[in-house]
């Protein structure tokens, strides 16, 4: 990790005010993604994967507040920058693909116009050329008959095609960082494979860093260079993909792998993870939020989390990791 990362997130903490109290949704989340690299953020629902992406993009729900940390995109700290500064890079330097393409697209504008909007706003494309460039982009994301499809509304397209349009919009300005939040959830496995190929190919073409959020460990295993495992708003482990699956060190990572259907030969081999996510509104949360579910808990776990990374490249937030 000598070169400056495309995106560096350090010590990010986010809290939400709710009627039931303050939810400490993220605490000290840190990771980096290099140019051309695919980083997967995996975890179960409620682990803070999406909140991380929303915080970095500056689109958190109004009830949420970044309480600490920085997100460096080149020389700009996205979390400290003014709204104008963020607006200038969002869409141009850093773009996002959302989980449900049909609701993320504008239902009353044709997809060609929606792509042209981005080109005009972020890619300095002259107004005259925008429609033609939109058609080119539709062709680039593998939509057949792009000139005709440019005039279609999102409801006239299948889920897979809408996701291709989302990708065209996200990549219109050739950003240096792409955040894809569950881009294939709800799509068929065959379509999923094609969409993931497409994101991978386009990322390679323009040397883009991809942060790919998923709950599907098998998909992350297949597509990511490195993986960040999150649990209850903490990053519990970060490692290169092969290393993580060969030698998971955090007990939670190991449990998560053992619960994935693909890992087992039969149903009784599948292991469930005891306990549930802790209530993040509690004021007496232990330093390690997994401690209360952890079979390897020891006294250190109730004092603080280990600070320094044990092994370079492979970082685990645990006092008693698996060896």
């Amino acid at each position: 990790m000598t070169a400056a990362p495309a995106l560096l997130v350090e010590d990010l903490s986010v809290a939400f005010r709710t009627r039931g109290g303050v939810v400490q949704a993220l605490e000290h989340v840190s990771f980096a993604v290099q140019k051309g690299e695919t980083l997967a953020i995996v975890g179960e629902s409620g682990s803070g994967k999406s909140v991380t992406a929303y915080a970095v993009m500056g689109i958190l729900d109004p009830a949420g507040r970044v309480t600490a940390g920085r997100a460096m995109l080149g020389g700009l700290d996205l979390l400290a920058a003014s709204a104008d500064q963020v607006a200038a890079v969002r869409g141009r330097e850093i773009a996002m693909i959302f989980q449900n393409p049909r609701t993320a697209l504008n239902p009353i504008r044709t997809v060609g116009k929606q792509i042209a909007d981005v080109l005009l706003r972020h890619a300095n494309v002259p107004r005259r050329e925008a429609p033609g460039r939109a058609v080119d982009l539709l062709r680039a994301v593998g939509i057949t008959d792009p000139a005709r499809r440019a005039d279609a509304y999102p409801f006239e397209m299948s889920g897979g095609m809408c996701q291709r349009v989302m990708i065209a919009i996200a990549l219109a300005a050739r950003p240096s960082v792409l955040i894809a939040d569950e881009p294939t959830t709800g799509l068929d496995v065959t379509t999923q494979a094609v969409i993931m190929d497409l994101i991978g190919d386009l990322a390679r073409d323009i040397g883009m860093a991809t942060i790919f959020i998923t709950h599907d460990l098998a998909l992350a295993a297949q597509r990511a260079d490195r993986i960040v495992v999150m649990h209850a708003g903490h990053v519990v482990e970060t490692a290169p993909t092969a290393e993580l699956f060969a030698r998971p060190r955090h007990p939670y990572t190991a449990e998560l792998i053992a619960a994935t259907p693909d890992a087992a030969a039969n149903l009784s081999e599948l292991a469930s993870i005891p306990g549930a996510l802790p209530d993040l509104r509690r004021s007496d949360l232990p330093p390690c939020r997994y401690a209360e579910r952890c079979p390897r808990r020891q006294t250190d776990c109730d004092v603080a989390l280990p600070a320094a990374p044990a092994i370079p490249e492979h970082v685990v937030a645990c006092w008693n990791p698996l060896s």
């Binding site: 065959t190 094609v194 597509r223």
Partner: protein
Amino acid sequence: MTRTLDSMSSAIVHAAPPPDPPLLDVAELKKRFPVSGTIGPLARLRRRMKGGPVHLPMVHAVDDVSFTIRKGETVGLVGESGCGKSTLVRVLTRLLDPTDGIVRLGGRELSLTPAKRFARDPDRGRIQMVFQDAGDSINPRFTAFAAIADPLRRLRGLSGAALTAKVEQAADQCGLPRALLSRFPHQLSGGQRARVGIARAVAVEPALLVLDEPTAALDVSVQVVILQLLERLKTELGMSYLFVSHDLGVVRLLCDRVLVMYLGKIVEAGPAQEVFSRPLHPYTRALVDAAPRLHGHGPAAVRLDGEPRSPIDPDPDVCRFYGRCPRGVDRCRTAMPDLRRLGDREVACHFAEETPA
């Protein structure tokens, strides 16, 4: 009557030589829907007055599907969205009337009873269903207790203490703490809601349980628990399962046999382990290849791109997979391949024998 006799004979051909009759016997089932909006009622009337053809374009959602489920068996049904899985399930559970064909449960021909009347039929309770998202399929104004009690009241005529006892028994069987029975769906976690959905279905002691992606909305750690619960309930209550899913990993773990559906037709059927380890139909192969794996192979060789053929009045002589199939030769668009038996497998492809081991 002749239709019935024909269908019966074919049903006997399709069923593997059974020691006892199968629990569910589906023979040559068809479901078609008219395409709305293509031709209005006035235009249709005008055409009829002129004596012209009144043919409406039809979506062939389920086309000539035959299979059986034996007692205690778990059969998986896989295929991409739009392939007709859900229509097939809705016809089997008698929420829809078939256009043609037979659905027989334990010897009784259910397809003769119209869907509307079947709701009050004594056999209604013998086929039950667990829906995809328990959060959406439970009435938000029903407590967990009321949700589980509803079918018991309607189908078993229970009330009072007997009803309470039965609801509590179902909750216990499904690992749902009794203390949660007074809660509304929004006060329950995803896993707890899934348990309510299952308890509601098994409370009336069905012989066949149809599960439509019961764990699609759940995290892996919860999914494991629900799958193991389903496996235990099956043996405890002596049920058979039809398990609809597009998660091949889950189907492989849970199912004895699997049916692969493409555009309204079954293209491959056989023992789940075998079908997934050595798919014979090119569509099954693409499906297996596309499923991400934790360990092992990189990007797959077969990629299915593009859209399936139109399900509206498909050409009966063209293989449904033609155009997307990596093989696709002339023969595939002049003769539709039948579902043929190969050992303990059934495959609808001209070239099934040529698949390398």
